[in-house]
Symmetry: C2
Subunit: 412 residues, 2 copies
């Protein structure tokens, strides 16, 4: 039995997290989170909330007024978007090319919505024309897709999806958890209504806050389902005509009314996470989004080149690879978990395992946010080479690092 | 238009938060949160998760195996408990004596459950015999109550509620957001199945993590509704016979399987919040729970005595007052918001406003967690006296502080 009085102060090992996320947080983010708290409606707190809204608009590539945070992990943002956007009985079209497309379907089922899918095998993406055909066939109320699905390391192209949605009268939702801050998010150019993200990947923060942006059209649909809870509703509150949203916590009508001028007393904003989310965006905008995306591209190119120079085979379609996480086949005869353990034990580096049909078949190597850096990619490759060869899997010694270095420089 | 590139680094004013929460975090908690992150399934991370489970058992007064965190604010814990515990169509009995009793009803409505209430006017609590009668009459599947409802500053007695539930075959749920760490929580002695809390009140941490404890009986009911999502389910996974839980994020079957030996890959644990939650419990257990409850009692007694010495009238039933937040009538002719503004502007002290039927009628003064300290209560009273008199509301000058000091010493 653990004796809690014996637990010492928090003291995690200094580990380099080069998996599919979470990754190491930027030190500025952690420092920002150590600031003391404010009252929920103190003017400085609401000003910080307004700043967060302004900071995340460029990050999402949008002018949407409703750009804010959902208090929970990235998955909380996904559920908040879906439960607020789609009504029970309505049909969604899910662009399905990995584990997180399955998650969208799962959440839709739980909230009582119907769905159809347009699918690609794991390792590929769905052609835009196939999405269009499915949309015309099924006339969904919502088209939803993951942007980058870390389970397969593929990034779904999204330019044009908004036009398809418009053609069939649908709204659109994108889960950009694994790409926000690392690959371009262009809500307005894509014509996408709602996008959610997380901090723990390319934004270089901790899990626990989900940035979200909501178009005016989506906000209209959500506000039509507004039902303020009894304990906090204004005397003159008017409920929407639509059915009540199936969750109180994820009711984006109330969340918007909390972030907006009404300052509805919904949840108590997670202040430290808000400080962290604010700093994540400040770091990203300070670097410049274009420079940041280029840095992630360089890291992905370097990782890919290094792995190939070792003689390893990458997983998935080269043309639609996420820049920030790379899947690679575990060589025949190699115990993937033994290599991961050696990487962690001897080098304090974490690389990722895989899910479902890819479990035991590929590793996933990430280079995200604060870890999308040249030296971290090079160290990871050198360590992987050492671990593979130590366990009897011969690779060309010393080949990975120079190949990665050259690829980095080419991509910059 | 705000220009995000002009926002400086986080720099909140040094404000003393003496409202109904959130309050200032203990510095140790904020420092713990600045530790770097770990991979989700790194052995050190899962060890920290196990430690959190061990740390929160005494805080909840329980030996429950399933004692962990829900990633979200306190309200997320409430919704997770209700959506997982009660099935659509089942009936809950809500012990209703304030705003957060209304919230329980609201959440139950959204998840498709029925409910009956047993009510007390705001400012009173519900007699145990009335709960028993209502339970026998309605034969609910779940009896649920708030412990301390900050909207009315009342604390519902809970000794005996478990026996009533047993008598009628119900499970029990308690929202202890506002009391955990400040008033005794005795899950096992009360015979309560599920209790949730938050960090931002008497535990002296930031909002954003909701500790929860779940009895084996409740876990059995929840696991009977287990439906692992497709992308992560084991090949040999067996679904429960009960209806699927209406939320993926709040599916406590999957959350338990993530915290348990299965290590199901559900959400990505909010690592920094977990570090903070861990430190909140370490601080509480290090002080000793009995000493901590005594300190909160002393703070509440001192605040009450000081307010009365000023000639003000306390709100609500003296016998069932929360120790950590005190409601007091705004004197006739005084502009409550003007006083709150003066307190903040001149003294950097925040006191609380009120909701619903009490809006504009009472202030709520908290002394919670790191702020349940003698000097902070005295400073708050002295400042309130100064602000009232400056705005023309004459009170006996200098009376509050010595009365509070005497009451503190008596209660210690």
């Amino acid at each position: 039995m653990l004796d809690p009085l014996l637990f010492g102060e928090i003291d995690p090992p200094q580990r380099l997290l080069m998996g599919p996320g979470p990754v190491n947080a930027h030190p500025r983010v952690l420092r920002a989170m150590s600031a003391d708290l404010l009252g929920q409606f103190d003017p400085e707190m609401t000003e910080y909330m307004n700043q967060v809204m302004a900071l995340y608009r460029p990050v999402f590539g949008t002018a949407n007024r409703w750009t804010m945070l959902v208090d929970g992990t990235a998955r909380a943002g996904i559920e908040a978007a879906l439960v607020s956007l789609i009504q029970p009985g309505e049909t969604a079209l899910v662009v399905n090319f990995g584990r997180f497309g399955l998650l969208l379907q799962e959440i839709l089922t739980r909230i009582g919505a119907r769905f159809e899918t347009v699918d690609a095998p794991w390792g590929e993406v769905v052609p835009m024309e196939a999405i269009r055909e499915a949309a015309i066939r099924h006339r969904p109320a919502l088209i939803c897709s993951v942007h980058g699905d870390t389970s397969t390391t593929m990034a779904q192209p999204l330019d044009g999806i908004g036009a398809i949605a418009k053609e069939v009268g649908a709204l659109t939702y994108i889960d950009a958890t694994a790409t926000i801050g690392g690959m371009e998010i262009a809500a307005d150019r894509w014509g996408v209504d709602v996008i959610t993200g997380g901090l723990q990947k390319c934004l270089g923060g901790p899990s626990g806050s989900a940035p979200i942006t909501i178009s005016d059209a989506a906000a209209d649909k959500i506000f039509a389902r507004r039902h303020d809870e009894k304990g906090i509703r204004a005397a003159d509150a008017v409920d929407g005509q639509g059915p009540r949203i199936g969750s109180n916590y994820f009711d984006l009508a109330m969340v918007m009314d909390y972030w907006g001028e009404k300052r509805l007393n919904h949840h108590t904003e997670a202040t430290s996470m808000l400080y962290g989310a604010r700093e994540c965006a400040r770091v990203a905008l300070g670097e410049g989004l274009e420079a940041r995306y280029r840095r992630h591209r360089a890291a992905g190119a370097a990782m890919s080149a290094g792995l190939r120079a070792m003689g390893l085979t990458l997983f998935g379609d080269d043309a639609h690879r996420m820049t920030n996480v790379t899947g690679v086949y575990i060589p025949d005869g190699v115990d993937g978990e033994a290599i991961r353990t050696a990487m962690r034990r001897d080098f304090e580096i974490e690389i990722g395992t895989a899910f479902g049909p890819l479990a035991g078949r590929i590793w996933r190597l990430g280079a995200m946010g604060y870890n999308a850096m040249k030296h971290k990619v090079l160290i990871t490759l050198a360590a992987l080479e050492a671990c593979l060869n130590a366990q009897g899997c011969q690779t060309p010694m010393g080949a990975a690092v120079p190949a990665a270095l050259a690829a980095w420089d080419d991509a910059q």
